[in-house]
Symmetry: C2
Subunit: 323 residues, 2 copies
């Protein structure tokens, strides 16, 4: 069992440590990367040897956070995972190397499995980056524009650019604090929320064409197959930000996105509103996440995966059927 | 010529006035309505007779701001336009009735034409509602959740839910101040940014199908004809929020949306990034707006209107052609 510790204790552990390896989750997003690179910069300011490791390549669009950050080579003496709810989410390679010996995990997922020796979770935070901002303060390191750029990215990306229910007053105030340092928020927002390639536009059109509605429009299912990706010319970057689309349609309680993986099996994303708990749906298929946004992976054909997730939604949310 | 006055002077004028008619612009959006209803509630708290007038019907989705607000009948003694850059934007009926005798205009458009006797403009504010929040403070009226709901709506809608360049630290802090009062921001965001009817999805698909690219992809033109609207089953609500779409495509400097009006002529919206000035483009066709978002109306066939706006963009932004 993991020990739960406070942010103050996290700061003490980090101040005492050196040769620190920070870990991001696979399919890296703005929050896991923002958390990792902000903390990396803060710890390097203290003269420590630190680097960030991610099981997947970091998408080019995040170059503005990663470029120029030194990544020294050393044998890790302290391993800290940020925004990683389960050691499986480190990806197979990193999990095998380090998954069994993570010293500390800082996270904002209530579903955190407690795989690390010590864990600091605050599920009330919209982004893990908000915890990191507080930890940087506790480390006594002055926030720089480079760190603030990473923190802002984490808050903005995990809150759908301040659109989701988790975008509370604290999220806005922390964003404002970052902006006071003169960060390029216009570019960050454009890169993360407002820029689509022509291939992405084409992929969205195909996905919308195949959108399926069930239970009087309360469930919407969108499928992205490898064939569609290939036909549209979309790359990995183009595939981000698709899961919110089905739930954006009026009357939809549960928005489901089936995304085929390279091996032919499927990654499922579930998004819900106030009517339903997304993590309860995904838990039935071995996944997890937040109340309004969760995910799981299911092996099988498109039809099998579709049937499994529909059944999970019907079980977890009986009102889907009764109305 | 109008007299330019400070927010403090605005508060003095309003404190001295009674039987106040507040005016919103036609095609009402979240900012003009949020500004009007917040100020209406604040002035009613002071025991004044106040009502809001808009030249167009208010879309149902804004019911959460308008419901329960008393709209007494009286002969206006003081007329105040909020977020209305030009008296033409009151719409023909309201302009004819009151356009020539507006006592005061509070606005955040740098292009305000100065049609009112006195004008208070702060073009640095993302939303007119931000000026209104400061004016409510100056009136000495405690902010209520109902007022804060209107102010938040104005800030969020005019900043693309904190995505555009105008969403600065002050916009975030004012949003947080509104949220402290317990406003239903999740519902507000869902209604304004995250809910699309099936008809809207269909309309977007048709619009994307017809998207045209010019000058090596630096210009994207999307056209919404009356025929497309009819075919999709879209209503007036479904037509909001389309203008940002063309500029969201990678490499696009100037995103242009041509929307056919009931009379067959076109309303044009122009969106730009850091490379170009949208209001300079629209000014050439008798329109105006902000640096990154502007509009104009052009009479003619689709082909004529298309040719006119392309020419205006080429004149206002020579680098479109030279690269």
């Amino acid at each position: 069992m993991t020990q739960h510790i406070t942010e103050q204790q996290v700061a003490h552990r980090l101040l005492a440590a050196d040769d620190i390896l920070l870990l991001a989750h696979q399919y890296p997003d703005g929050d896991t990367l923002g958390s990792n690179f902000a903390l990396c910069l803060a710890l390097q300011t203290l003269g420590k040897r630190v680097r960030v490791l991610c099981g997947d390549p970091i998408p080019e669009k995040y170059d503005y956070m990663t470029e120029g950050v030194e990544m020294p080579d050393f044998e890790p003496a302290f391993i800290c995972a940020l925004d990683v709810a389960d050691s499986k989410l480190l990806g197979p390679r990193v999990q095998e190397l380090y998954g069994h010996r993570v010293d500390l995990c800082v996270d904002h997922h209530g579903t955190n499995t407690g795989y690390a020796a010590e864990t600091c979770v605050d599920a009330s935070c919209a982004a893990c980056a908000m915890l990191i901002l507080r930890i940087i303060r506790l480390l006594g390191v002055p926030l720089t524009a480079a760190m603030a750029t990473c923190i802002y990215t984490g808050i903005a990306t995990d809150s759908g650019c301040f659109k989701y229910s988790n975008a509370d007053a604290l999220a806005h105030r922390m964003a404002a604090e970052c902006m006071d340092l003169g960060i390029p928020y216009e570019m960050i927002n454009r890169v993360n929320f407002d820029m689509k390639s022509r291939a992405r536009i084409e992929l969205e059109r195909m996905a919308l064409d195949g959108m399926e509605f069930l239970h009087e429009g309360r469930v919407a299912i969108m499928t992205i197959t490898n064939e569609m990706v290939e036909k549209s010319g979309a790359d990995e970057n183009d595939l981000e930000g698709l899961p919110p689309i089905p739930r954006q349609i009026e009357g939809v309680w549960v928005g489901i996105t089936l995304r085929q993986k390279a091996d032919g099996n499927y990654k499922i994303s579930v998004r819900t509103g106030t009517h339903a708990d997304a993590s309860a749906v995904c838990a039935l298929l071995g996944g997890g996440g937040h109340n309004r946004a969760a995910g799981c992976a299911v092996d099988g054909t498109r039809e099998e995966v579709r049937a499994a997730i529909i059944r999970a939604a019907e079980i977890a949310i009986p009102r889907l059927i009764t109305g």
